[in-house]
Each structure stands twice: as C-alpha cells, then as structure tokens.
C-alpha cells in the first residue's frame, strides 16, 4: 500500500490543520494534525483495499455475471461503508475533543485526497511531460510545443477547432433560441415539442456518430439505391451522389452538424427558461407601443436574456474544444477533419507519444481555462440570485 504516502503529501498542500492551535499546545495539535491526515486518507485507502480485495478474491473463481453483480453492489455501498466505519472509529477510539477536531477532515478530506490524485497531480505531471520525449523520460525542451504549432496535421486541427468554435455554438444558439421562442407560443404541445429537440442530448457521441454516418452514407453511382437519406434526396433532385465525409473542407461542416444536432436541445432548454423569465409587463408595454413580435424579439427578449445566451455560448465553446468522439468515429481525423482533442488522443494512444500528447493537452487546458472561469462565475451569479 505504498500509495498511502503519496496521498499523504498531497493532503499536506492545503494548509488546513497545520497551524498550531493555542488551546492544545504543540504536541496536542501535532497529534490532531496527524490524526486528521490519517482520517483523510483512511476512506480512500480502505475503499481501494476493499474493492481491490473483492476483485482479487473473485477473479477466476466465480462466473462473470456474479462478478458483475458483486462489483456493482460493492461499488455502490463500499464508499458509504468506509465513511461509516471511519466515523465510528473516530467516535469510539478518540477522546471527544480530539475526535471533534478530526471528524471534519475525515468527511471532507477523502474528496480532497482523491482530487489531488486524479486532477492536481495529473495536471502538474502533464505540464512536466509536455517537455519530455515520447516515452515521458528524456527532456526535450520546447520541441513538443513547436510540434503543436508547426506540424501540418496539428495546424489543420487548430484551424478546424477554430471553425468549430465559430460555427457550432452560433448555430445551436440560433436554432435553439428560435425554437424556444416559437414553442413558447404553442399552448399544449410545447413540452412535447421541446422534448423532441432535447432528445439527442441523451445519446452518446459514438451513437450519434453511427446515426449520422447512416444519414451521410454513400454508394458509388450505379451500385444500387442510395440508402443514406441525404444522397437519396440529392439523387432524387437529379444530382449525383457524393461521399459527404470526404469533401474537403465541407466535411468539417458535416461533422459540426452532428454536434449542433446534439447540443441545440441544451441551448433551447436554457434559453426557453430565460424567455419565460422575461417580465410579462415589459412585453405588454412593448405591444401597446405598437411593436411587432419580431421587434419585441430583437429589442426586448434578446437583450433581457443576454446573460443566458452567454452561458450557453461559453458552455458550448468548452464542449467544442473537447470534442473528440464525433471525429474519431466518423472520419478518424482523415480528409482534413482533425480537431485538437482528437490530435491529443491520437498522439497519446495511436502514436504512443506521451510528450506530444501532453503538450496538446496543456494547450487545450490553457484554451479552456478562460472560458471556464467565465462560465463558473456566471453560474455562481445565477445560483446566488435563484
């Protein structure tokens, strides 16, 4: 269980209990600090030991179905059981005063420990690796970043991602907003109508990829009927069938349409909520002044819900920066359809070049941070006024 010590160091970083407590004296507070650390790492370590032990005990001895059932059961109750155990231990074994000082760290500490291992350490390590070679061993300076900004495929991915950022959020917001406004005018069928647009949000990107590969499917002219609906329409209108996903550069747009299809429901739901929040007397006043519905939309509704529009935009920009599955499934990044997240996984997984993969990841990280900060701040403001 050597990972115990690593976790211990990570917990130390947040200052928490390190300051000396006047009432307890040096040794008393030192004891509390140590016990708090032990309590914080206890749940993660015990949970890991429990789960790992269960899997090892089962491996090769019982049927796969039973392994699955036990795994689900133990995964579901394991964390709670370990929290209960540690809390019970604190209450029974420690003197009341020390126990009360330690307890909060036993509750909040495990999450901090897990986050230190799964997000803080990797973030630091990724930055380090971005200066290392393919295996992550030797130091190569800025070579990987040079690769990010000079490699032809990388440059295409940067260009494409930029287009994704401009096209997808704008299209999804435009369609979502338009639909929300129109659906708002319906009476009974509004919620069903909105469900239908929101439905793709439940589908995985891989599933959506298959759905749309079928829409775009293509057969060479003369080798049978077109079974993809787009080509069937094109042929029906007297055109020749085309391999949509191989038309450079428009194939990028056809991939973006999938993302728009998936995400418009999200924009629509958020904006629909915002539209319903526009004060009725404001709309009435505008109508009395003789404004048309279109004028009301542009001059009253849109300015009033601007902050929601910004939230949708920022959220989608983040989603687009990280889009990877769609490209991976549809084209695999062929025919000039690379995007940065796809390049990251490609470098890491297919080329096994950890240094370059890490450099792309750092680039993504830096691109996401400002948008994410805007987003979290907006979200907090919204929560505060709720």
């Amino acid at each position: 269980m050597a990972d115990v010590e690593v976790e211990q160091q990570q917990v130390e970083k947040p200052p928490g209990p390190t300051q000396t407590d006047d009432r307890r004296g040096f040794w008393g507070s030192a004891l509390v600090v140590v016990l708090s650390l032990v309590a914080a790492i206890a749940v993660p370590v015990l949970t890991y030991a429990l789960l790992n032990g269960t899997f090892e005990a089962m491996s090769g001895r019982v049927s796969a179905i039973l392994v699955g059932l036990v795994a689900i059961l133990i995964g579901v109750v394991g964390v709670f059981a370990m929290f209960t155990l540690v809390d019970y231990a604190i209450k029974t074994w420690l003197p009341d005063k020390i126990g009360r000082a330690v307890q909060p760290y036993a509750w909040a500490g495990p999450a901090v420990v897990v986050l230190a291992i799964y997000l803080v350490y990797p973030a630091i390590n990724t930055v380090q690796l971005s200066f290392a070679d393919a295996t992550g061993e030797g130091f190569v300076g800025w070579d990987n970043y040079q690769y990010v900004f000079t490699d032809p495929a990388m440059l295409r991915s940067l260009r494409n991602t930029l287009f994704w950022i401009f096209v997808v959020p704008a299209a999804a917001v435009a369609i979502g907003l338009g639909f929300a406004v129109l659906a708002d005018k319906l009476r009974r069928s509004e919620s069903i109508a909105k469900s239908m647009i929101f439905l793709p949000m439940a589908i995985s990107f891989v599933g959506a990829g298959i759905v749309w590969r079928f829409v775009y499917s293509f057969r060479v002219e003369g080798s049978g009927a077109q079974i993809g609906i787009l080509n069937a329409i094109k042929v029906g209108l007297g055109g020749a069938p085309v391999d949509w996903l191989a038309i450079v550069p428009w194939n990028n747009l056809f991939l973006m349409i999938i993302m728009i299809w998936l995400q418009t429901g999200f924009a629509m739901v958020i904006l629909s909520g915002a539209i319903k929040g526009v004060p009725e007397d404001m709309l009435e006043a505008a109508r009395l002044d003789g404004a048309t519905e279109i004028q009301i939309f542009w001059r009253v509704i849109v300015p009033t819900i601007m902050s929601s529009i910004v939230v949708v935009f920022t959220t989608m920009i983040i989603g687009v920066l990280k889009v990877f599955d769609i490209v991976w499934v549809m084209t695999g990044g062929q025919d000039g359809t690379e995007v940065i997240a796809e390049r990251m996984i490609r470098n890491m997984f297919t080329f096994r070049n950890f240094g370059r993969g890490a450099a792309v990841a750092v680039f993504m990280f830096l691109a996401v941070i400002p948008v994410m900060i805007i987003n979290v701040r907006r979200f907090r403001e919204e929560e505060a006024t709720r």
Partner: protein
C-alpha cells in the same frame, strides 16, 4: 418513438414556478399561430429523422436495408418480409453487445454512486462543520472544475501501469519542505495494475466527477435552513445521524439531478473507457463495442443500427421517465470541466 405522448412528462425548467402566459406569448391571430405550428413541426421532423431512420433500419432485414432506403417502408408497412429482430439477436450474441451492456452497467452504476457518496460527505462538512481550512479546501475543489479531464489521461494511465518508470521525486521537495517527513520512500514505483480493470475506471470517474458533485451538493446543502440542523443538534443527534436522517432525504432533488447527469455521462462516455478500460472483449463497454463494429464492418448497417439503438435504449428510457431531473442535471452539468 411515438410511445404515447401522454406519458411524456413536463420539460418545464427549474424555474417552473412562473405561471404560463394566458395569451400564448401574445399571438392571438390564429393564422400566425398556424405558421408557428408549421415551423415547429418542420424543425421537429428534421431533428427526429436521423434517429427514426436508425430505428426503422435496425428492424429491417439486411437484404431490405441494402436494396432500398428506410423511408420506403412507409409505402409498404405491412410487407412483413422486411421486418426482423435478427439484427438485434445477432449483434447481442455474436456481436458481443450482451456482455458490453453488462459491462457498461458495471462501470456506470458504481461510477455514479461513488462520487456522489464521497461528495455528499464532503459537501456536508463544507456546509455544516467548522474546521480550519474549510474555505481554502472548498475553493481548491471548485477551482478544479476548470481542469479538463483530458489533462489527466496520460499521467493516470502511467500511474495505473505502475512500474519503475513512474517517478514522483519532484514531489519530495514540496512535501519535504511542507512536512519535514522523510519522503524518500515514496519516490519509488507504485505497484498498481489498474489499466483494463473496472476499479480503475470507477476511481477515474469518481475523481473526474467530484468537483461538480461537491460544488452542486454544497450549494444545495448550504441553502438548507440552519435552524433544522441546530435543533437536531440540540436533540442530541451527532453529525452522522443528521447527515443520514435529515440532510440526505432533504437533498434528494440535488442528488437525483447529479446522479442522472453522471450516470448518463458515464454510460455514454467513450474517452475514459477507451483509455482506462480498453477494447478487449471481456471488459469493453457499449460505446467501445459500437466503435469497434463501426471500424470492422463499416457497411454492416443491419448490425450497426441495432447496436447503436441498444446503446441508446437505456439513456432514452431515463430521459423519458426522469425528464425533469434529467434536464436539471444536464443544465447544471454545464460547468463540468
């Protein structure tokens, strides 16, 4: 898909408290209302065509799929020779989608419950316990919302592989300065073999899901009235009792919203599963199986459509049965990094 519109629950948002407009948004002219209806209907049809096409295709025989477009069935609905369920049978058995479905559940259920449990304890501590560093630790957690999980993939992959090439010596300086502990011991390798195991994926999903879970639950729990907790304390209840009997039951809406968001996120996840679980038959999940089928047999539409629909069934059921929580969960999940 037309499984009875009566059962479709309301998709009203979180702020459903506002009364509906009596004037239907001001459109009183029946002719313009008709225009609105037509436009809405057209958009819906465009939105549904891809999914409907997939569903219909998955129910047709391979020969029928390849000789005519799926839309032609509307002209020959009662020609039973084109309908079949063998696509599903084939993809479930020889395609391995049966075990992939089970694997997906094995991944998704604990990956949903584990972060929620851990986050609930942490959120309670951040809301209702006094301790040094409370504010700092909470800010630390919320700040991690900005870290995209892509950043974590390579280091965790290496960590899971264990072995001597893993080096944490850079930590010893920081930790040594902070603690004065003897940290030499930890700079050697950590014997983990978690790549390709369910446990490894659970823990990864837990780590990636925690910031949002803590953030949402802390917001919710912190807004519960403090008199409630105080009166329970006066009655002699300790934190654990308050947490279990009072806070958890009261937090069900927040817990459910996050649970649905996280469950669907994990169920539909491809990236984390690809990296940490891999493509071997005994552990692969639905999205991986679907991608493999797509790669091997790109034109086997009878299998691809059936497989895709199998991967969509559970999310769609969740969507239609728990729509209110679903919408709230997804909109709250907007800040997931």
């Amino acid at each position: 898909m037309s499984g009875g519109p009566v059962t479709v629950p309301d998709i009203e948002q979180t702020r459903a408290a506002k009364p509906r407009k009596g004037t239907a948004g001001g459109v009183s002219d029946p002719r313009s209302l008709q225009v609105v209806r037509v436009i809405v209907a057209v958009i819906i049809i465009i939105w549904l065509i891809p999914t409907v096409g997939l569903l219909i295709t998955s129910l047709r025989t391979q020969g029928a799929i390849e000789s005519s477009g799926w839309w032609t069935v509307f002209g020959s609905l009662f020609d039973t020779s084109q309908w079949t369920l063998t696509n599903y049978q084939e993809v479930l058995t020889s395609g391995g989608f049966d075990s992939a479905f089970v694997n997906t559940l094995i991944v998704a259920v604990p990956s949903t419950v584990m972060p929620i449990t851990m986050a609930a304890f942490a959120a309670y501590a951040f809301s209702w316990m006094e301790f040094k560093g409370r504010y700092f630790l909470f800010v630390f957690v919320v700040a991690l919302l900005v870290v995209p999980l892509q950043v974590a993939l390579i280091p965790i992959l290496r960590l899971y592989a264990g072995g001597p090439e893993f080096d944490v010596s850079f930590l010893s300086g920081i930790a040594g300065a902070l603690t004065g502990y003897d940290v030499e011991r930890v700079t050697t390798g950590i014997p983990l073999t978690l790549n390709g195991t369910f446990l490894g994926v659970w823990l990864a999903h837990m780590g990636f899901g925690l910031p949002l879970a803590i953030y949402l639950l802390r917001n919710f729990m912190g807004s519960l009235p403090s008199e409630l907790i105080e009166s329970a304390r006066i009655d002699g209840a300790d934190h654990f009792a308050i947490f279990r009997r009072l806070i958890i039951p009261l937090s069900v809406p927040a817990l459910a919203s996050f649970a649905i968001f996280q469950f669907l996120w994990v169920f539909n996840d491809f990236l984390v599963a690809l990296v940490f679980l891999g493509e071997t038959q005994d552990v692969r999940v639905l999205t991986i199986a679907l991608n493999a089928l797509n790669g091997q047999r790109g034109e086997a539409w009878h299998l691809l459509t059936a497989g895709a629909f199998i991967s969509m069934v559970l999310p769609l059921v969740v969507f239609f049965s728990l729509q209110r929580y679903f919408v709230r969960g997804l909109t709250a999940g907007a800040v997931k990094g």
